[in-house]
């Protein structure tokens, strides 16, 4: 009985849940997705000037995998991490405050789940302390 339950969970429920949620990390979508993303980082200084920053500037002190994804993220990259970025966009934007003396930072994620899907745009704007 235990093996049947384990089989149902591992073979059916976990992948189906992941598939239904759209991120597919547990649905064995490796080497098949054309999910792509691009980041745009804008910082406004204390005098109101807006600066276009390279997303790689957020990579100081972050985990190695995230650092790799931020490199070149100013143009579209086809890695299936769009949903991971989307879920943590405000926290990532807050990292921008540490890159200079800014009043606010806005991080925009443009994401396409596949080559035919329309772009999904998500923005996070944070005020810097």
């Amino acid at each position: 009985m235990g093996h049947v339950v384990a089989g149902l969970v591992a073979c059916l429920l976990l992948p189906a849940y992941s598939y239904a949620r759209g991120e597919g990390g547990l649905a064995w979508r490796m080497f098949s997705t054309s999910d792509s993303f691009r980041l745009r980082l804008l910082a406004t200084d204390r005098t109101g000037h807006v600066h276009l920053l390279n997303p790689v500037e957020l990579s100081s002190g972050v985990e190695p995998a995230l650092r790799a994804y931020l490199q070149g993220a100013e143009r579209f990259r086809s890695w299936p991490v769009g949903s991971a970025f989307q879920a943590r966009l405000p926290a990532l934007a807050r990292l921008g405050c540490a890159t200079g003396r800014y009043a606010s930072v806005e991080l925009t994620l443009e994401r396409s789940p596949n080559l035919d899907a329309p772009l999904q745009v998500t923005r996070a704007r944070v005020s810097c302390p």
């Binding site: 235990g2 591992a10 098949s32 054309s34 985990e63 080559l115």
Partner: protein
């Protein structure tokens, strides 16, 4: 006068039947240990960059996007995962070790969400499932009696087959079936080398290979499940993983699948050998 081997036969035969599961346990354990320690960096520096000193090891001052566990806790989890993996591979309280690997491994993965990969997911799930089955009845320093050999074998077989089916389902979309996704992978260098150039060199070839891969993954399910076609299924699966490994080096997922494919090897030939060794004969 030597003791009669007859009473020992059922257990020995049972263990022989479960030998493929034990091989899978040793293989997955060894591969997971290799991938999650600095050993990986020695052989594959690019791949092992995230495994120094251990996979998911946090560094002071780094920003985490996970559960907010302390540095010390995550480091302890990494060490626990490694020690439990050694025990799992050697078959020392393999069930408990597998649960420890899974729990500590999941917590480390959740702590580093951008580092989550299908390879880690596969290694963690395979370890847990192998631990829950009769994989430590043989090839172990502490053999345990089998509980449910048939369901043990079929649990792992179902797991492997489900991976191929879900992978195929993920490819049943327009931009994969018309070859554009494969062309993109080739253009970006994620699939490279002479074989990739030969198979994916033109949009027309990509449009043939795309559906062919999806069809191959779908067909692996019946081919592997039915005993009459299992050899063909195994040959196709091995060729598939070797081909992808050659073109794309996708972490160690191909090697993990090859370790798991061992569970489709019948233990019946070993049964005959064991019986022969013990002076018994088996019916054909």
């Amino acid at each position: 006068m030597p003791a009669s081997p007859v009473p020992e036969l059922p257990r020995a035969v049972g263990s022989a039947r479960l030998l493929p599961l034990a091989w899978a346990r040793v293989g997955i354990g060894a591969l997971f240990l290799f991938r999650s320690t600095a050993l990986c960096g020695l052989f594959e520096p690019a791949l092992g960059a995230d495994a120094y000193p251990l996979l998911g090891w946090p560094h002071a001052g780094s920003t985490a996007f996970g559960l907010g566990l302390s540095l010390l806790t995550i480091q302890a989890l990494c060490v626990t995962r490694t020690l439990a993996l050694v025990a799992f591979m050697l078959g020392i309280r393999a069930r408990l070790a597998a649960v420890a690997v899974f729990v500590s491994g999941c917590l480390v993965v959740v702590q580093s969400p951008f580092g989550f990969t299908s390879t880690q997911s596969l290694l963690l799930q395979a370890t847990l499932l192998l631990g829950l089955t009769d994989s430590s009845t043989t090839l172990t320093v502490r053999p345990v009696a089998p509980r449910s050999p048939t369901s043990s074998i079929w649990l792992l077989r179902a797991f492997v087959v489900s991976i191929y089916v879900w992978a195929a389902v993920a490819k049943l979309r327009h931009d994969w079936l018309d070859g554009r996704t494969l062309a993109l992978f080739h253009e970006e260098g994620r699939l490279r080398g002479p074989l990739a150039d030969l198979l994916l060199g033109t949009p027309q070839r990509c449009a043939i290979i795309g559906p062919a891969i999806a069809l191959a993954e779908l067909s692996l399910a019946p081919l592997l499940l039915f005993s009459r076609t299992r050899v063909i299924g195994l040959a196709l699966a091995v060729a598939f993983h070797v081909g992808i490994e050659w073109m794309g080096h996708p972490d160690v997922i191909g090697w993990a699948m090859l370790c798991l494919l061992v569970v489709f090897v019948e233990g019946s030939s070993q049964r005959t050998q064991v019986a022969d060794v013990m002076g018994q004969t088996t019916s054909p």
